[in-house]
């Protein structure tokens, strides 16, 4: 057991890869689902054990692939930040997979089922790899593994528009990944190393004349990663992709894919460039703050006028990512804590919302808001969970969304930018409007013919929704796992770099 314990970082990536190979050899969807479930239930335990190890030891866990010491070999370096994001991704995976069987069986043709789980596990392996690795180029490879799997998953949507959405995402995603690899290339030319810690060390002792390519690298990396995490105005691919993808895929991606990219942004800004270099030599903070606030408002306004509930939530995701990047850009203790906490909270809330909509689609065949009249009476538990998660998204006190927005507001006041605290509240009010539209239609209208046959979905679909909704309340009251860890992460990120 102790021998295995040393290898936990690599197991997180190897297990889903292994699962992908096994499911690729199968033809039966149910068996493939069982294997995906089995692998997925082990991963959060590994991630939690890593997080506890790191928090107890107070220093990062370093794993040398193939026994080659860094910076020559590839190093997996798990500190509190990775461990927390790994836990977020694995929890979302483990909670949503039980939902997949019925939902996928309904939305996909039977010969696609086994391949679907192969792609799902590849995507999961890629996302966990991005977060676990301490090597800049290795992160690019994992980024592409997860992206290629994601393009396939999106293209599996029932509507032919899914193909176009997938194509557009492929173009945008590849440009983003290529920008990232250009940035890594420039850093490699200047420093001669690819290990993130080693790059950070060597950037500390650069001559004055060498700064220009480093700044270009920072610009390329920022733009590339912001394309992947769908920061306004680089979010064009996201609404179509989320709307057209199968329900389960949308819920899974909303909770994981953008979060892995956010992690990469935090890592590049704080661990590699160091907050001082990144924020003093280029106006990154100002640009990110402006774009984040634009995302919070413009995407929320677009969401208010959307007729398709899934697309509405997709725009809401763009807005919520604005909150996370705002926290990153504030670059102080409270702001960064808020950004990291919101990464976790938003993953759980938005996954719950998309899963609930998936259940509605499962029963009624439509997610047009006009078709949802009276659905709250027909599917009481599903819609109750939806309302709880929606309240969390709005940031009502007592839900997890309140905690993250509270920290973000504190962070902007600490920074001396108190109007931003006001803007955070104002944009939350817009989310009241768009969430209110669905709730109004669902509860205060007479049920129409579209929903006459609707009832709560089977237990395997209902339980994940209820668990995530309960988590929205739980993490609004018990902040030990979220805020306390995030605060420790934020202080170590900010402290080690000044």
């Amino acid at each position: 057991m102790t021998a295995l314990r040393e290898h936990l970082p690599i197991l997180l990536v190897i297990l889903p890869l292994l699962g992908a190979i096994i499911t690729a050899l199968l033809r039966r969807g149910t068996v493939a689902w069982g294997i995906a479930l089995a692998f997925d239930l082990v991963l959060p335990a590994i991630a939690l054990s890593l997080l506890l190890d790191v928090m107890a030891a107070g220093k990062p866990v370093s794993y040398h692939i193939g026994g080659w010491p860094p910076p020559w070999g590839i190093e997996y370096r798990i500190d509190a930040l990775n461990a927390f994001v790994l836990l977020t991704i694995t929890i979302v995976g483990a909670v949503t997979v039980p939902y997949a069987r019925r939902s996928v069986a309904r939305e996909l043709e039977s010969h696609q089922h086994a391949w679907f789980y192969t792609m799902y596990l590849l995507c999961l392996a890629g996302l966990l790899g991005i977060v676990a690795t301490g090597d800049a180029f290795n992160a690019f490879v994992f980024l592409e593994i997860s992206s290629l799997a994601t393009y396939v998953l999106i293209a599996l949507g029932r509507n032919r528009r899914a193909l176009v959405a997938s194509y557009q995402y492929l173009i945008m995603g590849t440009i983003g990944a290529t920008f990232y690899v250009i940035g890594v290339g420039l850093l490699y030319l200047v420093t001669g190393t690819l290990n993130l810690v080693d790059i950070a060390d060597r950037l500390g002792s650069l001559a004055d004349g060498q700064w220009r390519p480093v700044m270009a690298a920072l610009a390329f990396l920022t733009v590339g990663i912001c394309l992947k995490l769908a920061l306004f105005p680089l979010h064009g691919w996201l609404p179509d992709a989320y709307t057209c993808a199968p329900s389960f895929v949308t819920a899974f991606l909303a909770g994981t894919a953008t979060k892995a990219a956010v992690y990469l942004l935090i890592r590049i800004f704080y661990s590699v460039f160091g907050s001082a270099i990144a924020f003093d030599r280029l106006p990154v903070t100002e640009v990110l703050v402006v774009l984040s606030i634009a995302a919070m408002f413009l995407a929320s306004f677009t969401a208010v006028f959307e007729a398709n509930a899934k697309r509405m939530l997709a725009y809401s995701s763009v807005a919520q990512i604005g909150y996370i990047t705002l926290g990153i850009a504030l670059a102080n203790q409270a702001g960064l804590t808020g950004g990291i906490v919101h990464l976790f909270n938003h993953a759980l809330m938005k996954t719950a919302l998309f899963l609930a909509l998936g259940a509605v689609l499962f029963r009624t065949g439509s997610v047009q808001i006009s078709h949802l009249a009276g659905i709250g009476r027909k599917m009481p538990l599903t819609l109750a969970a939806f309302v709880v998660a929606a309240l969390g998204l709005i940031g009502v006190p007592g839900t997890s969304g309140f905690i993250s927005k509270w920290y973000l507001a504190l962070g902007s006041i600490d920074h001396g930018w108190w109007p931003i605290a006001f803007l955070i509240v104002a944009s939350s009010l817009i989310s009241v409007v768009y969430m209110g539209r669905i709730i109004e239609v669902a509860y205060f209208r007479e049920p129409g013919p579209e929903v006459a046959e609707a009832r709560d979905p089977p237990l395997s679909m209902l339980v994940p929704i209820l668990v995530l909704a309960a988590a929205t309340i739980y993490f609004g009251i018990d902040v030990r796992l979220t805020s306390d860890v995030a605060a420790a992460v934020a202080s170590s990120l900010l402290g080690g770099l000044k």
Partner: protein
């Protein structure tokens, strides 16, 4: 001015790299034909291979074989990295083309403006 031109000629590999990079990106943005956009994307990715490989070469350097006869080696790491990147590029291009085939099957066209007009027309 002459310094600038001399610099450009001395670093002609970078000039080629940047030209290919910008040309590829331009095709991706400016064209509406899905195949042409994929070609542009491929060009854009390929230019990055040059960005890595070019500086790895040292004039007069040999392959890194430990032998007393050779003193100057080229850096082998960029080649290994780019070998991986080529695989990624091929996979991306293959998947992109596969999706375009499916789009052609279901829409009957691969021009983006025609596809969006068919989508907004409603019934599939």
């Amino acid at each position: 001015m002459t310094d600038g031109i001399a610099g450009l000629i001395a670093h002609y590999n970078y000039v080629v790299t940047i030209f290919l990079m910008v040309a590829g990106l331009y095709i991706v943005i400016a064209r509406g034909n899905m195949i042409k956009r994929l070609i542009g994307l491929s060009l854009f990715q390929t230019s990055v291979y040059l960005l890595y490989i070019g500086p790895g070469k040292i004039v007069g350097g040999t392959a890194p074989i430990i032998d007393p006869a050779y003193k100057v080696y080229s850096n082998p790491l960029p080649h290994v990295l780019i070998l991986t990147a080529i695989v990624v590029g091929v996979a991306t291009l293959a998947l992109g083309l596969a999706i375009v085939v499916r789009i052609k099957e279901s829409y009957g066209t691969i021009e983006e403006d025609e596809i969006s007009s068919r989508d907004s027309a409603g019934a599939p």
